[in-house]
Assembly symmetry: C2
Homo-oligomer: 405 residues x 2
């Protein structure tokens, strides 16, 4: 008998029919002899509806009140799931984040979990109930309701799985797992049966949309095996587990793409110590997250520094650079929001020479120019023109032998 945490996202509880399907699956899991803890998100677009309503009511939205508003969504879905379980003779009880003992800091709208005290969840399990827990929410050390920010329901599920010592945390969503590439870009993309935490982190960081970086990091740190699967087909999906000796490392597991970033270049900078520090401090002070950074010094002693930021941060980044331009003696600041990034990820890359060469050759053969390069031990990312990203992904997917038969 195992203990399974099952997390259902917004589309999985999107309407009455989906909620009944979820209850059927929980009942099946229970009938199979396993103990289940359910974690739910708000129904489908309910959160968006609430935000629209708030926009109508007030231009001002204090974070504490925004959290109070948004946490209504999970209350509704958890109560409905619990009712549907009752109709299937599965005894259950729903719990808010606060009742489930999810203690956070006071950073409203993006709180971090400080401590898990799931005493009531343990009691419910001991009493033979299926606890149904509100995802995304907690209670702060100031006794206020908080939310965990984007991907927060996954974090709730992983944190509960860790605290309860669950055997697996199942993340139910509207796709059947993690794929070797975005199937909308690469029709021949394959579902991966198993990936390591390290690979999943790189996939999530470079454009994989299934899991947020944060919940994968949390799961890795707490050794919680994840199983990403579909609440529409219920077929087995992708396991995300610790790398072990028995795992045969694929040289390349996945090719990801991301066109959400833009490039900023600060050109003609004197090559003096402290210049980069000055520039990136100015960006950090504006809370701008910088992703890739490339610096090249030419023969004339002048340096070009390029970096990428989220397109939504581009204006702020340009302002920051323009402000410090004279202080650092730069010649010019230019921006480019017509770029994209293509990335290959694979734990086997570490021990396989020639991967980098094959990637560059594949892009070159297909006339795709590489504008920036960034690497980790299990990842290589290249910035290319935005309109060549899909081509690049397809060619790399084929070149690294990932195409489905």
């Amino acid at each position: 008998m195992a203990l399974v945490v099952q997390k259902y996202g917004g589309t999985s509880v999107g309407d009455a029919e989906r909620i009944r399907a979820v209850a059927d699956h929980v009942a099946r899991t229970r009938a199979g002899g396993d103990d289940v803890v359910v974690v739910v998100s708000a129904m489908g677009k309910f959160t968006d509806d609430l935000i629209r309503l708030a926009d109508d009511v007030s231009p001002t939205r204090p974070p504490r009140e925004l959290d109070m508003l948004l946490t209504a969504g999970e209350r509704i879905s958890m109560a409905l799931v619990s009712m549907a379980l009752a109709a299937r003779d599965v005894e259950s009880a729903s719990f808010t984040g606060s009742q489930a003992g999810i203690i956070t800091d006071t950073d409203h709208t993006r709180a971090k979990i400080l401590e898990m005290r799931p005493d009531r969840i343990r009691e419910a399990l001991d009493d033979g109930l299926v606890p149904v827990v509100a995802g995304f929410q907690g209670v702060s050390t100031d006794r206020d309701i908080t939310t965990l920010g984007r991907g927060g329901s996954d974090v709730t599920a992983v944190a509960l799985a860790a605290a309860l010592g669950a055997d697996v945390c199942e993340i139910y969503t509207d796709v059947t797992g993690v794929f070797s590439a975005d199937p909308r870009v690469v029709p021949k993309a394959r579902r991966l049966a198993k990936v390591s935490f390290d690979e999943m982190l790189e996939i999530a960081a470079t454009g994989g949309r299934v899991l947020m970086l944060r919940s994968v990091e949390f799961a890795r740190r707490h050794h919680v095996p994840l199983h990403v699967r579909s609440s529409f087909t219920w077929e087995p999906g992708t396991w995300i587990v610790e790398e072990d000796a028995t795992m045969e490392d694929a040289v390349v597991s996945a090719v990801t793409d991301d066109t959400s970033e833009a490039k900023v270049t600060v050109g003609g900078v004197p090559d003096r110590p402290g210049i980069a520090a000055h520039l990136f401090r100015a960006l950090a002070d504006r809370s701008i997250n910088v992703d890739m950074i490339v610096q090249n010094t030419g023969a004339n002693g002048l340096t070009d520094i390029s970096f990428t930021v989220a397109k939504t941060d581009l204006d702020a980044a340009r302002d920051a650079c323009t402000t410090v331009k004279d202080e650092i003696g730069a010649a010019e600041v230019s921006t480019d929001d017509d770029i994209g990034r293509v990335t290959i990820v694979g734990a086997g890359m570490k021990s396989s020479p020639g991967v980098t060469a094959l990637m560059f050759e594949t892009l070159s053969t297909n006339g795709i120019n590489i504008e920036m390069i960034s690497t980790s031990s299990i990842r290589i990312s290249c910035v290319v023109r935005a309109d060549r990203v899909a081509d690049a992904v397809r060619h790399l997917h084929t070149a690294f032998g990932l195409d489905a038969a």
Copy 2:
């Protein structure tokens, strides 16, 4: 500087525009120098929407989960009201029933308040904030979320006003106060500037729709002056206060009507001790509330017992009577759901002889037959044919001098 509890019902926070109007009024009240605690209901028909959703999801609705579901409604409105206050530079913070220290028993969907511990509300007031509290909800001694049943938001407001020693509890609604009769029935009905708790209790019990009996009783017991008024016109409404020497008692303050009940007659019962006890025990065992009771013994030593119940309880009442019919030796059980009740209420009635006679004469003159009579020291109710109720109300309103000029 006074402390005012302002309770806004479902229509008062029915949409974004109404919520902004509420925030304007709270800001005005604060600007006038008073401290304000706001209590809100769920927005308009939101609760009905949730119940419809629950019906779609599951035929089974455990009361604990139903309470969890329904309390989402007040969370939404309180957060929105608090945001709208922020936009008006009024500092506020919203609190759930649990955070406001409303401790109830464990009787889900109709919990009773056991204790008020509004420490956080007091702190918020001390900090100069406007606390915005969820009506209708509390937390049980088992740490579960409960709801207070029909009219629960009014109860929340009155209980908070009592616990905080507020100067007045203002109940905002979609009518401008308590009227001398239902204005839809009597176009010449007048708004009452002031009524006593006792009168209001009788009005609420006999068909006045503005306030629930329960919150009036609570206010009377805790000496909380109520002020019922409109959140659409914001004009002064009706004060409900303790009777005092300076209050000039109207002989009759209001005429109410009610067609929600039906009559059951158990006929031809031997006039023996214990018969009525046996009959009404059978009704009580089925949780049927009996309102008026009339018993008449004829010359033949046989008794007819008639009583009224809510129409929704009629089938259950008929069953109960039929079941005990033989045991009590009754000849027959008949029912009549075509009745209505007309009532006159007035604290001055106690010291004014002739009120009863004038009521009966007025009905008689207009050809309205009286089928049952029930009285208290400040009320007389008559059961008449349902289709004569409106007529009866209008004639009595005129006869007792209540018509607006």
